[in-house]
C-alpha cells in the first residue's frame, strides 16, 4: 500500500545533504512551512541554495535558517523588507550570495523546471540591469530575455490537507508557490494541517496531484488557523 505519510518533520528531511538546492514555499508567512524549516535548522545541512520569494522575515522560519548561517545563496525576488535584518546583515558583509529574479520570472523558471522546458523567452526585465548579459531575441516585434529553469533537490511546502497518495489542497493565498515548487523538485515534502482518507479529497478539488509529492508530514494547525477556519 502506498503511503507517503511520515511521522515527523525530522524523518522527512533526514537525507538532505550539504550544498542542496531547496525551494521553500510561502509568500511572507502565508504558506511558509515553518515546522519543516525548524526541522531543517535542526538537521544541520549547510551551504544551501534557497529559493523563496523573500529572504526571511523577523527571527523565525527562513530568517532563522539564514541566522544559523546555513544559506550560501538566496534566489528570490524581494529580499529587502522592514524586518529582513538577518539577510541584510549577511548580504552587506558579503557572506551570502543573492540572485535577484523578477517575481514572475522566478515563478516561470520554477514552473519550467517542473514541466521539462529547457528555457523560455520572457518580455519581463528587457532593457533593465536584471537582463544584463542575458541572451535576447526580438519575436513578433517585441523584445524578450532568455531565462532558464530552476531545478531543486527538495521543495518544502505547506498545504492544508493531503491524503496518503500525496494529493494536496491548499488554503487561500497560502497556495502561492506550492504547486509549482512541488513540480520542480526531485523530492517534495509537504507539511499539512490534516491528513484525510484516500478519496476524501474530491478529484475536481485536488490542486497538486500526488505525482508531484514524495513526502507528507502532518503538523497540527496553530491556534490562529483553528480560529480562522
Amino acid at each position: 500500500m502506498i503511503s507517503k505519510i511520515l511521522a515527523t518533520p525530522e524523518a522527512a528531511l533526514a537525507d538532505i545533504h550539504d550544498g542542496a538546492t531547496i525551494m521553500i514555499g510561502g509568500f511572507g508567512n502565508a504558506g511558509m512551512p515553518a515546522q519543516l524549516i525548524d526541522a531543517l535548522i535542526g538537521q544541520g545541512a549547510r551551504q544551501l541554495t534557497i529559493v523563496n520569494n523573500n529572504a526571511g522575515n523577523g527571527d523565525t522560519g527562513l530568517a532563522a535558517l539564514i541566522k544559523a548561517r546555513r544559506v550560501k545563496k538566496m534566489i528570490c525576488s524581494f529580499p529587502r523588507q522592514a524586518d529582513s535584518w538577518h539577510f541584510d546583515g549577511q548580504y552587506r558583509a558579503g557572506e551570502i550570495e543573492l540572485e535577484l529574479v523578477p517575481q514572475g520570472t522566478l515563478a516561470e523558471r520554477i514552473r519550467a523546471a517542473g514541466a521539462g522546458i529547457g528555457a523560455f523567452f520572457t518580455p519581463t526585465a528587457y532593457g533593465t540591469r536584471l537582463a544584463e548579459g542575458k541572451e535576447t531575441r526580438r519575436i513578433g516585434g517585441r523584445d524578450y530575455v532568455l531565462e532558464y529553469p530552476i531545478h531543486a533537490d527538495y521543495a518544502l511546502i505547506k498545504a492544508d490537507r493531503a491524503d496518503r497518495w500525496g494529493n494536496l489542497v491548499y488554503r487561500k493565498t497560502a497556495r502561492n508557490f506550492g504547486p509549482i515548487m512541488a513540480s520542480a523538485a526531485r523530492c517534495t515534502v509537504a507539511q499539512v494541517r490534516e491528513v484525510v482518507e484516500l478519496g476524501a479529497l474530491g478529484p475536481e478539488e485536488i490542486v497538486t496531484p500526488g505525482i508531484f509529492v514524495q513526502r507528507v508530514v502532518r503538523v497540527p494547525a496553530s491556534a490562529s488557523l483553528d480560529k480562522a477556519a
Binding site: Q103, G104, G127, R129
Partner: protein, 219 residues
C-alpha cells in the same frame, strides 16, 4: 495652486478605471485607489500572490494570515473571487490579461521608461518583486506619484537616472499637479490642478510637455 493630496490623486486614478476592468494595484500609494472606486462600479482587483476579487480590509480581529495581498496586508475575498498559484498569477500579468496596473515611481522618462525598484545606491539591497512583470505585461500601466521629489527635483525626466523597471511601458502619469499621457511623440498634459499654468507646470517638469486639447480648453 491647489495640489492634490494622496487621496485626491487616488480618486483621480479611480475615475479612469471602467466597469469590468481587471486591475492590479501596486504596493504603497496605489492601494489607496481601491478606496475611491465610484459606488456601483464593479471592478476586479488582482494581487500577484494569487488572488482575484479582493474585497475591503477585514474588520479588526477578522484577519486571516492565509488571506493577504502582495503587500502582505490582510484582505478579504468577494463572492466570485478565486485563488491560484504564482505561475498562473503571473501568466495573467505577463499574458496581457490585466487591464490596468497602478504603480508608484521614482522616475518616469519622456519615452515612458519607468524606474521604481532601485535607487541605484551601492549599499542598497535590491528588491524587485513583481514590478518588472507588471510593467512588461499589463495592458495599461498607470503611474501615480508626487510631481517633484522632496528636494524639488522633477520625477518626470528626459532619461531615467535610476535603474529601469521597464522600457517605454508607462501609458499615463497622475501626479499632485497634473495628468499626463505618454504618447509616441512625447508627453501630453491632459489636466492640470486649479490655479496652475502650463508654463509653471513645464518649469517644474524635467522633460518637454505638450498641452493637450482638453487641458488647453480648461486653461
Amino acid at each position: 495652486m491647489k495640489k492634490l493630496d494622496r487621496n485626491q490623486i487616488a480618486a483621480r486614478v479611480a475615475r479612469d478605471i471602467p466597469e469590468g476592468a481587471y486591475v492590479n494595484l501596486g504596493i504603497g500609494l496605489p492601494t489607496l485607489v481601491a478606496n475611491h472606486i465610484p459606488k456601483g462600479r464593479e471592478i476586479i482587483l488582482h494581487s500577484e500572490n494569487g488572488v482575484l476579487g479582493i474585497g475591503p480590509r477585514p474588520a479588526p480581529g477578522q484577519e486571516d494570515e492565509d488571506l493577504i495581498n502582495a503587500g502582505k496586508e490582510p484582505v478579504t475575498l468577494l463572492p466570485g473571487g478565486s485563488y491560484f498559484h504564482h505561475s498562473d498569477s503571473f501568466g495573467m500579468i505577463r499574458g496581457g490579461h490585466i487591464d490596468f496596473c497602478v504603480l508608484g515611481a521614482f522616475q518616469v522618462s519622456a519615452a515612458g521608461d519607468l524606474a521604481n525598484w532601485h535607487t541605484g545606491e551601492s549599499d542598497a539591497i535590491p528588491a524587485v518583486g513583481g514590478a518588472m512583470d507588471l510593467a512588461a505585461g499589463a495592458k495599461k500601466v498607470l503611474v501615480m506619484m508626487e510631481h517633484v521629489t522632496k528636494s524639488g527635483g522633477s520625477k518626470i525626466v528626459e532619461r531615467c537616472s535610476y535603474p529601469l523597471t521597464g522600457v517605454a511601458c508607462v501609458n499615463r502619469i497622475y501626479t499632485d499637479l497634473a495628468v499626463i499621457d505618454v504618447r509616441p511623440d512625447g508627453l501630453h498634459v491632459v489636466e492640470m490642478v486649479d490655479g496652475l499654468s502650463f508654463e509653471e507646470l513645464q518649469r517644474l517638469t524635467g522633460a518637454p510637455l505638450k498641452l493637450g486639447t482638453a487641458a488647453a480648453k480648461a486653461a
